[in-house]
Structures are given as structure tokens and as C-alpha cells.
């Protein structure tokens, strides 16, 4: 019965270190949030499961030859997975509301202040002993404020791969928490009267405008910000496939089989970066704290910008719309709609909030491009 002793020496029980147990508990917590609380389950379920698998002693999931090793290296090390997700998101995005009211782009711009303020905050955290964030680390952390998962994973994989697990978890968790984080900030910064403002109906948008939009965005990006073209280019490819109407097979593949398959693997790969060494550090606490700051500041700056636009337009813009500028599509737009209905039961802001909402996606891709160009 030497075999039984060999097996025993091989068991998890024999090899466990407390750190791995803690990381498995973190994985289980993510599964709980995904399944019971329905927090971004499409990502947090595979991330949580990946975190559990990656921390099994003696199983070798993340060693060369293990399945999570291959998935991470092929999919995230190459940045291919977040770009494919972005292509799929592009194919699922309707820019109609934004094209009808392009000034909403300013809200998507303003909300990115959450990113840059957090960057400053992350560097300021270095004043506290124990934190030693480089500019690269700080930039990768700050992009949590973009409220856009694939952008955060893309930038983190380029600038701070060691922090990728914590950054992705923070980004998706706070995106799920948008209905809790945003309303108090929105109410604090606006008056009852402002929140009750009704918007004019959006004009119809022609098919040609919708087809030209992704091409013009890409063109502007090529001219002025080439470092953002991987993200923006794949996003625009997806959107062009959608709007052109001539490649429905491909658009369908991007929206369904490709994005679904990649989501499973992306989640597992992110989870595989939730190793005890990388995650159980004071830096993770800092990242979680900074992420909350990022979302809050982004919401606030979006709302403030919307207040300015409301004044300038003579009260035709509901300041709540600014909160949708952080992206977190379509959650933030729904929150805007809900808070708006509280003040005025006739006030249906959902369509209007889709404009700043998708503008926020472009805004954070642009911010990521700026960060890549300047600190990458």
C-alpha cells in the first residue's frame, strides 16, 4: 500500500498553504457574486472558477503545459482576446443615439477624468509605505475608471501584467456595482428640477451615417492617436460589419460564437492571474480602493459636465446623462433612466443615455491610447 501513501503525499490537503486557501475563497466569493448576486456573471463566473483552478496545489494549471498557461499566453499575452471581445462589442453596439446627438461625446470625454484623477491618486498612494506603484502600474490601475472590461485587460496586459488579475476583478466588480455607486453621487450633484428635465426626441439617423461613423472614428484615430488603433480599430471593424448590412454572417459570428467562446477563455485566463503572490498584497487593497474612487470621480465629472451643457443649452440637457459617460454599457444608462424616473415619471432617459454611454467606450479607448503612447 505504498501507493496510498504516495497518493496522500500528492493530495491537496498535504500541500496546502494558507495563501492558496485564501485565494480559493476569493474565487468562491467571485462565484457567489456571479451566481447569487448576478454581478457581471459572464465574466466573474469564469474568473472565479479560473482563480480556484489556478490555486490548486500540485495540479499545474498555470505551469507550462497546463491548460490555463496556454490560454493565458495565447489569448492575453498576445492581447488577442480583449481585442476580439472589443470586436464583438462593436458588432453589438448601436451608435444611433450618439449620431443623433453627437454633443453627448463631451460627456463621454468628461467622465474619463475618473481615469486620470485615479492615476494621480495611485501615485499619491506611494506616500504610504508599502505602495510602490510605477507610472505604468498607476496607468493600468487608473483605467478601471474607464468602466470597460476589455480595455482594462488590454492595457493591464501591456503595462502591468502582474496586476492584471486584481485590475480585471475590480473593473468587473465595480461595473456590477454601478447601480449602487452612481445614484447617491448623481443625486448629490443635481437638483430635483434638473433631474426632471425632459429631452427632445432624437432625430432619425440614416443608414449611411451609421456606416460612415465607425470609419470616421477609425480615421480620426489613425490621424491623431495611432496607439489607440488596436482597440478602436477592432471595435470599429465589429461595428462596420454590423451596420454595413452586407456581412450578416460575420457580424453574427462576432456577436455570438466568437465573443461567447473568447469570454469563457478570457475569464479563465484572468482568473489564472489571481495567484496568491500577486493578489494577496497591500497593493490589491489599494487597487480596490482606487477603483471605487475612479468610478465615483468619473460619475461626478460626467454629471458636472452635463450641468455645464445644461446651462449652455438653456436647460435642454438633463444633467443625469453625464453619469452614463463612464460607459459600463448598458448598466449606467439604465441607472440614469431609473434615477430620472424618480423625479419625473414621464421622463424616459434610456435612449438619450445610450449616447453618452457608448461615447464613454470610445472615451476610455482614447484614454488608453494616450496612456500607452505616453507611459507604454
Amino acid at each position: 500500500m505504498d501507493g496510498l501513501i504516495t497518493l496522500w503525499h500528492d493530495t491537496g490537503i498535504y500541500h496546502f498553504e494558507w495563501k492558496q486557501l485564501v485565494m480559493m475563497a476569493v474565487g468562491a466569493l467571485l462565484l457567489f457574486l456571479a451566481i447569487v448576486k448576478k454581478f457581471e456573471p459572464l465574466l466573474l463566473l469564469p474568473i472565479g472558477f479560473g482563480a480556484i483552478l489556478a490555486n490548486i496545489p500540485n495540479a499545474g494549471f498555470t505551469d507550462p503545459g497546463g491548460i490555463l498557461y496556454y490560454i493565458y499566453e495565447i489569448g492575453i499575452g498576445s492581447t488577442v482576446f480583449p481585442l476580439l471581445i472589443f470586436m464583438g462589442v462593436g458588432a453589438m453596439t448601436d451608435f444611433g443615439a450618439l449620431i443623433a446627438n453627437p454633443k453627448m461625446l463631451f460627456l463621454g470625454a468628461a467622465a474619463q477624468f475618473g481615469i486620470f484623477a485615479t492615476l494621480f491618486g495611485a501615485i499619491a498612494l506611494n506616500l504610504i509605505p508599502g505602495f510602490e506603484f510605477t507610472l505604468q502600474d498607476a496607468s493600468a490601475i487608473a483605467i478601471i475608471g474607464g468602466a470597460d472590461g476589455p480595455t482594462a485587460i488590454f492595457l493591464a496586459s501591456k503595462l502591468a501584467p502582474d496586476l492584471l488579475g486584481a485590475i480585471a476583478v475590480a473593473a468587473y466588480s465595480y461595473m456590477a456595482l454601478v447601480p449602487l455607486i452612481q445614484p447617491p453621487i448623481m443625486r448629490a450633484l443635481t437638483s430635483e428640477k434638473e433631474r426632471a428635465i425632459q429631452m427632445e426626441q432624437l432625430r432619425p439617423v440614416s443608414k449611411a451615417e451609421k456606416i460612415l461613423f465607425p470609419l470616421l472614428v477609425l480615421f480620426a484615430c489613425i490621424l491623431f492617436l495611432p496607439s489607440a488603433t488596436p482597440l478602436v480599430g477592432m471595435f470599429c471593424l465589429g461595428n462596420l460589419m454590423r451596420e454595413s448590412g452586407v456581412v450578416d454572417r460575420l457580424s453574427g459570428a462576432a456577436q455570438n460564437e466568437i465573443i461567447n467562446t473568447v469570454t469563457i477563455f478570457l475569464g479563465l485566463a484572468v482568473g489564472s492571474k489571481l495567484s496568491a503572490e500577486a493578489f494577496l498584497s497591500v497593493e490589491t487593497l489599494g487597487i480596490l480602493a482606487l477603483g471605487a474612487v475612479a468610478f465615483s470621480v468619473g460619475t461626478g465629472s460626467g454629471v458636472m459636465m452635463a450641468k455645464v451643457m445644461s446651462r449652455l443649452s438653456g436647460g435642454k440637457v438633463n444633467p443625469l446623462l453625464g453619469a452614463a459617460g463612464v460607459s459600463a454599457v448598458p448598466m449606467a444608462a439604465r441607472v440614469v433612466n431609473k434615477v430620472g424616473l424618480e423625479s419625473n415619471p414621464q421622463n424616459f432617459l434610456l435612449m438619450h443615455a445610450m449616447g453618452p454611454n457608448v461615447a464613454g467606450v470610445l472615451g476610455s479607448a482614447v484614454a488608453a491610447g494616450v496612456l500607452l503612447a505616453l507611459v507604454g
Binding site: 448601436d94 486620470f116 484623477a117 439617423v205 440614416s206 451615417e209 470616421l216 496612456l371
Partner: protein, 83 residues
């Protein structure tokens, strides 16, 4: 690199970043407005206030006989089993 130097750089990044983001998205505002003027409207315009194509489906489903839906699910199931 000492911390004050880093803070200076972070501040600089904040400024440059926000300026770039506003310039870029501001440029897009102008571009989209120009396109709207130059491009003729569709004869049967696409309604811009439909965020997703699911909406009409969801509406329609309220009007549909549940028995029909059951029959259809069966068909879809069979279809799926064959694929």
C-alpha cells in the same frame, strides 16, 4: 525617481490626457455633425431610438399565443438537435 517627480508626471499626464480626450471626442462631434449635413436621409429612416433589436421582439411576445410559443420552442429544439 522620487515621489514628487512622479506626482509631477502624474499631474502632467492628467492634463495632457484630459486635453487629448476632449480634443479627440470634440473633433468627432464636428465630424458627425458635418456628416449629418452632407449625407442624405434615408427614404424610410431607421428609427434612432431603438437601442437594441430585441425591443420589438419583446413587445411582440406579449401578443403571442402561449401555445404557439410552445409549438415554436419545440420546432427550435428539433432544429437545434439537428444541428
Amino acid at each position: 525617481m522620487d515621489i514628487s517627480e512622479l506626482l509631477l508626471q502624474a499631474g502632467n499626464l492628467m492634463l495632457v490626457g484630459m486635453v487629448s480626450v476632449f480634443l479627440f471626442l470634440g473633433l468627432l462631434v464636428l465630424v458627425v455633425q458635418s456628416v449629418a449635413k452632407l449625407v442624405p436621409a434615408d427614404e424610410l429612416p431607421v428609427a434612432s431610438n431603438k437601442p437594441t433589436t430585441q425591443a420589438p421582439a419583446a413587445q411582440a411576445s406579449n401578443q403571442v399565443n402561449p401555445k404557439l410559443i410552445a409549438a415554436i420552442s419545440t420546432a427550435v429544439q428539433q432544429y437545434r438537435n439537428n444541428n
